[in-house]
């Protein structure tokens, strides 16, 4: 029966991964804005650029370096990096699930309770990824995947469900879980809060703490691995690129902090930020439903704690985009599913229901005995069903797509095809006025609409990957203390110098789109707009409110005022 649970959980997850693979094989350039932006940054890194010095983004160095992996693979196999990235996340899901399965199988009889949680974990993982498909590959999703095995390992260690004898491969598995968790923690500074929270809960989960208990049930290999990986990764990045780390911890962190500190006041009005109260309601209800089980099960407690930290991340984001609610919602769903499986198992059924369940158990037992005699069938199912899901989803994704919706990626030197509907807003203007690898500036308050468009069409962003510092720097001048302003004066001057030199370089941006908001005001004040107006030909203004654009491209979350963009084309 235990193997049957394992088998069906694997089958469900593999089928889901097959479906996702099929979906992304059909939508080869579909990506949320932020991962696409990191892909562009990673391309620049592979071309020799140093983060925060040769280009400005506010992601952590590790995140940017990790994104070089899909870009590198893309260079090797000439597939679009967005496709590679999406498929890598699918593979990561399978990999993470494998680590979880190994952890359960290797923990012997004591890991048996976890086995009963496996369907719940699988279902919740599938639900989360399916619900947040539009945000597939966001750092929050990657963090959840990377951190999940660590949570399970901490649970197994803390509950004493260790292997009877330490096998070398179990130690390796724990090390992998620890390292993956460390990578997850380094994706975003706020994620670092997860480490003390998890450790506090594991520590208090021990009950009466003694040195012996601490050694046996707290100081696990995965904890050491995580700490070592945190220190080692930090050290490697620091010693290989000290200036990158110093700049990140200096002006970039100051900007991030100020962005948090100085709330974007335009969001005060109704409809100016995505209204995802539904996700918060779901979080509250799932959390409260899971709380009773949390008192009895450490794993549920850990999931609840992660969900609470996800809530912190959402609040700290200031912009409350849907993807920023992922951690909160996903871990709340996990906690709820785990709690639900516990409630169902401990339920006291009436005589009739018990008899029905007994019959179902008998049938399951027969199924189990039958499938044991059919090992080939199991293998065939495990292989065939995901493949079938891949093919079916791929087929249905492309079934109703008109032939004029396809475009070949050969023009941008990749194999494969893209769907015009998957391209972001303003794709027509960018395609018409620039070519692959051309420098294109799209400056707005947020990553959209510059990204994923620049990555999808293989254009290059300039020094300023997106306009995030401009708004913060403008507010800085209006509201900051002299000390705060002084700390960023040099960075600001350097940034505008970079922009000017890019404009006056041999290969200046072919196309420039600037949001007619504070972004325009900031660039105007720095004299950038005058140069642009002098050297560039003005095009028709572009509006994200344009009905045709909205119809032709997937809608995107947009905060603040939906203002138009001034467009400029380089004079020949």
């Amino acid at each position: 029966m235990n193997k049957l649970i394992l088998f069906f959980s694997c089958l469900l997850l593999l089928s889901w991964c097959g479906s996702m693979g099929g979906y992304f094989a059909a939508h080869q350039v579909l990506s949320p804005a932020e991962p696409a932006m990191h892909i562009s940054c990673a391309s620049m890194i592979l071309e020799g650029a140093e983060p925060y010095i040769d280009f400005v983004d506010n992601a952590t160095p590790l995140l940017l370096y990790l994104f070089t992996m899909p870009v590198l693979l893309s260079k090797l196999c000439y597939l679009h990096p967005v496709l590679i990235f999406n498929l890598l996340i699918v593979l990561l899901t399978i990999g993470i699930f494998s680590v979880v399965i190994f952890a359960i199988r290797q923990s012997g009889r004591k890991g048996l309770p976890v086995l009963f949680y496996l369907p719940a974990l699988t279902v919740s993982l599938v639900i989360c990824q399916a619900y947040f498909l539009a945000d597939f590959g966001q750092e929050s999703m990657v963090f959840m995947l990377l951190f999940l095995p660590y949570l399970l390992e901490r649970y197994l260690t803390s509950t004493g469900a260790r292997e009877p004898e330490q096998k070398p491969n179990s130690t390796l598995r724990k090390i992998i879980a620890g390292v993956l968790a460390a990578f997850g923690l380094l994706l975003n500074p706020v994620f670092l809060l997860a480490a003390p929270a998890v450790e506090l809960i594991c520590l208090t989960g021990l009950g009466d703490v003694t040195v012996g208990k601490l050694k046996r049930r707290y100081l696990g290999v995965e904890l050491y691995a995580c700490l070592a990986a945190l220190l080692f990764t930090g050290a490697v990045i620091y010693f290989s690129a000290p200036l990158v780390v110093v700049t990140y911890l200096g002006p970039i962190t100051s900007l991030n902090w100020l962005s948090y500190d100085y709330f974007y006041d335009n969001l005060g009005f109704v409809g100016k930020s995505p209204d995802r109260r539904d996700l918060i309601y779901a979080f509250v209800v799932f959390f409260i439903m899971a709380l009773p089980a949390a008192g009895r099960c450490l794993l549920v407690r850990l999931m609840c704690a992660m969900s609470a930290l996800g809530f912190i991340w959402l609040v700290c984001s200031g912009t409350v985009y849907t993807y920023q609610a992922f951690i909160m919602t996903a871990f709340a769903i996990c906690a709820f599913c785990l709690a639900l499986s516990r409630y169902l198992r401990s339920m006291r059924f009436t005589h009739r229901v018990a008899r029905l369940l007994g019959r179902a158990g008998e049938q399951a037992g027969r199924l189990y005995i039958w499938q044991r005699k059919q090992p080939q069938l199991k293998t065939a199912l495990v292989v065939a069903l995901p493949v079938l899901c891949f093919a079916a989803v791929n087929y249905f994704s492309l079934k109703n797509v008109a032939s004029d919706q396809y475009f070949s990626l050969v023009n941008i030197n990749y194999y494969g095809f893209g769907l015009k509907h998957d391209l972001s807003f303003f794709s027509d203007v960018v395609e018409k006025n620039s070519e692959a690898k051309d420098l294109v500036w799209i400056f707005s308050q947020h990553a959209r609409p510059g990204f994923p468009l620049i990555t999808q069409l293989r254009r290059r962003p300039g020094y300023l990957v997106w306009g995030f510092p401009l708004h913060t720097l403008k507010i800085l001048h209006e509201r900051s203390t002299p000390a705060q302003a002084a700390s960023l004066v040099q960075f600001e001057a350097l940034m505008y110098d970079h922009l000017r030199s890019e404009l006056n370089s041999v290969r200046p941006p072919k196309l420039i789109l600037i949001e007619d908001s504070e972004i325009w005001e900031s660039l105007k004040a720095a004299g950038i707009c005058a140069t642009v107006q002098d050297k560039y030909e003005s095009l028709e203004p572009l509006s994200p409110m344009n009905g045709e654009e909205i119809e032709r491209h997937p809608p995107f979350e947009y905060i603040g005022h939906r203002v138009s963009f001034s467009a400029f084309k380089l004079r020949r």
């Binding site: 929270a197 506090l200 809960i201 520590l203 208090t204 989960g205 009950g207 009466d208 703490v209 500190d261 709330f263 974007y264 969001l267 005060g268 009005f269 109704v270 409809g271 100016k272 930020s273 995505p274 209204d275 995802r276 109260r277 918060i280 309601y281 509250v284 959390f287 409260i288 439903m289 709380l291 009773p292 089980a293 949390a294 008192g295 009895r296 407690r301 609840c304 704690a305 609470a308 930290l309 809530f311 912190i312 959402l314 609040v315 700290c316 984001s317 200031g318 912009t319 409350v320 709690a339 409630y343 401990s346 006291r348 905060i559």
Partner: protein, 535 residues
């Protein structure tokens, strides 16, 4: 016994600290509590809700506020002071009931943490500032003993009938103050149901169909039933006009999710709550009451977001939950640490921790009370003799752009009208300065609501009916001005004046002289001396 000393000590110290604050600020009150208090005073004076006073809020808070209103009238003390003392009494009552349940019905091993929760229940009140006295705070105070009692009930504790009855009625009052609070109560019941799973029969007979639930339900039924016996005009105005209008147009004040959750003045509550949740999770295995309070705090987020106004007071249940959780969580951390290091059991820790807690609380209370006293002494004062009371009040508590105008041009009990599309700035000055509302419309929020309905809703007979009230409201204002001859009329230049302009509202000012044209967005009209009515 040590637990009792600790509980009594903590409640006494914190209550005295609050008493000092209340006495130092006899006129301090927030806008909504001031409005409710004004309504209560009108009811005490024989007024009918929704006939002699227009506001959308259900009347329970007004009935409740009649207690301080009567006390203030009998003892000739500022009604604001009476109200704040009433709130203090509620705090003491709530904490005393919770402490009693903690001491007599919950495991003694959890006493330290559970008393810290009671401490948190008192402590959060100190941070409310001008939101002190909001219905959300009253709900927390009235519902908390019920929550503790329900937890004890599920744990199998024996509950005395009278105790269950009192706690149940108090919870019923709390929940009925605002329909949103039912969600919090349901969440707690849901949590308890899942936490203490038992056989259905036992569950129904010994946990659900019990006295405190019956008492809460009985109060709710009586409260709902009383509407049937209200005069027809009250029902027509409330259920025929105000409720349907606000159901359609309350979104006028809606904000965005980012502004509700992530703005600098809002996010602290949610960050504290999340921190409290993590602490509660860390210790919920040992101290299960923490989970229950985590459910309570978290459930406070939903009504806050459902209302979607981003007004700070609406998150008081979440804030209270956060503070209580943090107090309980920190106490658990200290207790567990002591237990780990010194191997002292909870009972052994109690005397030492009682002494430390009492000394720290007393020390901080004395220090902060002394600071507050110094600050109040240093600040400008207002002689309350002008209002017919003795003593002084800090000027800052009554300071508004309108205070001097009112004081210079009106005597106590003079009728004054603020025509404004919000409760402020008419309140609290009218309540604080002992003025009488010059119109049944204590504010004109309803006009914004009707404008919103006009702009957003599809036309239809019901919408037309509701919109016809605009003219009626304008004529009621005119009627009240003619009848009551208010000495001052404060007219909000925008949008209220624009709402009323189509009804030639300026005609009503023929006996008035405009003395200010733009003071904080208001025009001020003063009744000409010959027309002024006597006190």
């Amino acid at each position: 016994m040590k637990g009792q000393i600790c509980a009594i000590g903590l409640i006494t110290i914190l209550s005295l600290r609050m008493l000092v604050s209340v006495c130092l600020h006899p006129l301090r009150i927030g806008w909504d509590p001031a409005l409710h208090l004004q309504c209560a005073q009108l009811i005490v004076g024989g007024g009918l809700p929704y006939v002699d006073m227009f506001d959308v809020n259900p009347p329970l808070i007004w009935y409740l506020d009649t207690m301080p209103a009567v006390v203030a009238a009998v003892l000739n003390m500022p009604v604001t002071l009476a109200f704040n003392l009433f709130m203090l009494a509620l705090m003491v009552l709530s904490a005393a009931l919770c402490a009693r349940i903690v001491l007599s019905k919950l495991p003694l091993a959890d006493l330290i943490v559970n008393l810290a929760l009671v401490f948190g229940l008192l402590y959060f009140n100190f941070f409310l500032g001008f939101d002190f006295g909001q219905r959300e705070q009253i709900f927390v105070l009235l519902y908390a003993p019920f929550m503790f009692l329900r937890f004890a009930r599920y744990q199998g504790a024996a509950i005395a009938p009278l105790e269950a009855l009192i706690v149940g009625i108090l919870a019923g009052i709390g929940i009925c103050l605002k329909h949103y609070f039912l969600f919090n109560a349901l969440c707690i019941e849901l949590f308890l149901l899942f936490h203490f799973r038992s056989k259905l029969k036992d569950l129904v007979s010994n946990r659900i169909l019990v006295r405190e639930n019956f008492a809460a339900l009985a109060f709710a039924i009586v409260y709902l039933g009383h509407f049937l016996f209200l005069p027809q005009i009250v029902k027509d105005n409330y259920f025929g006009f105000l409720v349907p209008a606000f159901a359609r147009g309350y979104q006028f004040w809606d904000t965005s999710l980012a502004a509700s959750l992530a703005a600098p003045d809002k996010r602290t509550v949610f960050l504290l709550l999340a921190a409290g949740l993590v602490l509660a999770l860390a210790f919920c295995r040992r101290y299960p009451l923490l989970s229950c309070l985590a459910a309570f705090g978290l459930s406070g987020v939903v009504p806050y977001l459902m209302q979607f106004k981003g007004w700070n007071y609406q998150d008081i249940p979440a804030f209270a939950g956060a503070v209580i959780l943090l107090c309980g969580g920190l106490a658990a951390l200290v207790s567990v640490t002591i237990q780990t290091i010194f191997k002292w059991r909870s009972e052994q820790q109690l005397p030492a921790l009682t002494v430390v807690a009492l000394l720290l609380t007393a020390g901080f209370s004395i220090a902060s009370a002394s600071d507050e006293f110094k600050q109040v002494s240093a600040d400008p004062k207002f002689e309350m003799a002008r209002l017919g009371y003795s003593g002084t009040s800090p000027w800052a508590d009554i300071d508004s752009p309108f205070t001097n105008i009112i004081l210079d041009n009106a005597k106590i009990y003079d009728p004054i009208i603020f025509i404004s599309n919000a409760v402020a700035p008419g309140f609290p000055p009218l309540t604080q300065l002992r003025m009488k509302p010059g119109s049944r419309h204590l504010h004109c929020c309803i006009l914004s609501v009707l404008q919103y309905i006009q702009a957003v809703c599809d036309p239809g007979p019901e919408i037309t009916r509701l919109l016809s009230y605009q003219e009626k409201i304008a004529s009621q204002y005119a009627e009240d001005i003619a009848k009551n001859k208010p000495v001052l009329i404060f007219m909000q230049n925008a949008p209220s004046a624009e709402y009323l302009a189509p009804f030639a509202f300026d005609r009503n000012f023929k006996d008035y002289k405009k003395i200010e044209s733009d003071i904080a967005g208001f025009s001020v009209y003063k009744l000409q001396p010959s027309e002024k009515v006597g006190p």
